[in-house]
């Protein structure tokens, strides 16, 4: 378990933000950690689950930073799927 910095984009938001996630968190939680900085603040919440998109592909909800091979400051998108 270690804090892990990524560049996060919340779907519909205007800016790339620094998001600190946990290296062993499942992607379902990583998506929430990224979206925390945009949804309800600048982007209206949607009643749909959030997922993580990485290099163009949606990652499985149970994948982790480690299993997905994500490097520090890689760009992750939190998108409504």
């Amino acid at each position: 378990m270690a804090p892990f910095p990524v560049q996060g984009i919340t779907e519909g938001d205007f800016v790339v933000v620094l998001a600190l996630v946990d290296s062993e968190q499942p992607m379902s939680e990583v998506a929430q950690a990224i979206a925390y900085h945009g949804v309800g603040k600048r982007v209206a919440a949607q009643d749909r689950p959030l997922r993580v998109r990485y290099q163009g592909d949606l990652l499985p909800d149970d994948a982790t930073i480690e299993t997905a091979g994500i490097a520090p400051m890689d760009v992750l998108e939190a998108v409504y799927a």
Binding site: P5, Q7, I9, T10, G12, D13, F14, V15, V16, V17, L18, A19, L20, Y36, H37, G40, K41, R42, V43, A44, A71, P72, M73, D74, V75, E77
Partner: protein, 502 residues
């Protein structure tokens, strides 16, 4: 006593050029300080400024200008004009002083480098006046806010800003170090005086002086007008420099220097002038939108000058036109949301009438950028202003050092992807907000690779604790100095009393 007309003696007394025999050309003009780009020494002696002035004329003119500005300031500083200006205009002026005053002194250092390492006596003569000009501008723009400190404590940042690591100042320093403080004389003549001053600030200062008068800020208007007259003169060092390079078959050198700096200047211009024109200037005082100003004055004039010198539009011209639709809206939104990190009090500038104007000037604004303000306005009305304040940081571009707002361009329909540009160089990851910013870096990686952005510094442990309060302290912002909403949330409509600061 008969006097010769100036035209009969000017060139003779000015042209103190001579061949070197005791030392080499490179010893007298080291390439780091005066890159000739291979143009022979004698070819530079054809350098001829379009606007000529003698030292006695210069001193006479400048004394008159100074007398005008200082006497206006002396009178108006005793009035209550400042207190009665609109909050948005006050924010624009406070932001301006912090971003520009000390940079003027730095420009004086750049001019002094051209006064010593310029390749022709005529040029060195012109740059000597430029040195005195920029010193005057630095003095004026620190003196006038200093005089008004009792009315506006934030004017302290006119002098303080460049001595801090505030994020906007890091961006400005990164640009200005590249443009003049750490630049060679020949490159500087093209990048500072032609690209930045002729291309941007000369016209911007004309517009800003007119806007100041309309807004009732006669003190600032007199100051900016006075500065602009100097800029119009010393900015002309670029034109003869380009002519010498072009005649020597080095037009590609001029084109490259110009292309790189025009983009860099655009980014900072989009930040500071973008929010000033489209959000901070009171609606009734606006004569044009930022995009209209760019279209009608900056771009048109710039293209005309390119053609005059046989140069081409930069390769990224379409991307520039694209960014003019959305970039400064995103920067304004970011400055407002991260308002504790700036030294002025940002206004939202998105009340009903302002939004109508924005929609007229930028069709689709309400559907794209208005929706962010809808969510923030609802949070304020619901009594949750804390939701309009940051808990993390925007990622900033490793070239322009400004927030990476590619998602805004994508959400507004102007970009095909929200993703930033990421490059690995010598094992380190660099993020860029645009293709031209990536290109600027890749043209000179050895110059830029060692720089740490504010986010790199956070991740490298320079900022402790690594959170918002730690970052504010690192940026030199005490709690009393952090920016707050300039209108106390008036833009959001009816707000619970507890949300108001007073």
């Amino acid at each position: 006593m008969p006097r010769l007309p100036r035209s009969e003696w000017y060139d003779l007394t000015r042209d103190m050029n001579w061949d070197l025999s005791y030392i080499t050309e490179d010893e007298a003009f080291p390439p780091q300080l005066s890159n000739s780009f291979g143009v022979p020494a004698h070819d530079w002696w054809a350098w001829d400024e379009p606007y000529k002035i003698t030292y006695s004329e210069y001193v006479h003119n400048q004394a008159g200008k100074d007398a005008g500005v200082y006497s206006v300031n002396n009178v108006l500083n005793r009035s209550d004009i400042w207190d009665n200006l609109e909050p948005g205009w006050r924010a624009a002026v406070i932001a301006h002083y912090g971003a520009i005053a000390v940079a003027e002194y730095q420009a004086g250092i750049g001019e002094a480098r051209m006064a010593r390492f310029g390749r022709a006596a005529a040029w060195r003569n012109m740059a000597t006046f430029g040195t005195l000009d920029e010193t005057r501008h630095g003095q004026l723009q620190t003196y006038i806010p200093y005089q008004a400190l009792a009315k506006e404590p934030k004017f302290d940042w006119a002098h303080k800003a460049y001595h801090t690591n505030e994020w906007g100042v890091i961006a400005a320093r990164h640009l200005f170090d590249d443009m003049f403080l750490a630049n060679d004389a020949v490159s500087m003549a093209i990048q500072l005086t032609f690209t930045f001053e002729t291309g941007f600030t000369n016209l911007q200062f004309l517009g800003m002086a007119a806007d100041a008068m309309k807004a009732g800020d006669f003190d600032f208007g007199a100051l900016i007008s006075s500065i602009q007259t100097d800029e119009a003169r010393h900015a002309q060092q670029g034109e003869p420099t380009i002519k010498v390079l072009t005649k020597a078959g080095k037009a590609d050198v001029a084109q490259d220097l110009l292309d790189r700096m025009f983009w860099r200047a655009w980014k900072l211009f989009a930040l500071l002038t973008g929010f000033s024109m489209d959000y901070y200037t009171p609606l009734e005082n606006r004569t044009h939108s930022f995009k209209e100003f760019m279209d009608e004055f900056i771009n048109k004039q710039f293209i005309d000058q390119f053609r005059d010198f046989g140069l081409e539009k930069p390769w990224y011209w379409d991307q520039l036109l694209n960014e003019m639709n959305w970039t400064h809206h995103a920067y304004h939104l970011g400055v407002y949301f991260w308002r504790p990190t700036v030294w002025w009090n940002p206004v939202a500038g998105v009340g009903p009438a302002e939004r109508e104007w924005l929609e007229e000037k930028y069709p689709g604004w309400n559907a794209s950028f208005g929706k962010y303000w809808d969510t923030m306005g609802q949070n304020v009305r619901d009594g949750h202003p804390e939701l309009t304040l940051p808990e993390t940081f925007p990622v900033v571009c490793n070239s322009c050092q400004l927030p990476v707002c590619t998602p805004a361009g994508y959400a507004a329909g102007y970009l095909e992807s929200p993703l930033p540009y990421v490059v690995e160089y010598n094992g380190r990851k660099y993020t860029f907000c645009s293709e031209p910013c990536k290109w600027v870096f890749e043209m000179q990686p050895e110059t830029f690779a060692g720089h740490l952005s504010i986010i790199d510094r956070l991740l490298s442990g320079w900022i402790q604790p690594p959170d918002i309060p730690g970052a504010l302290a690192y940026m030199g912002l005490s709690p009393e100095e952090c920016g707050v909403d300039g209108t106390d949330y008036d833009w959001a409509g009816p707000v619970p009393p507890a949300t108001k600061s007073a």
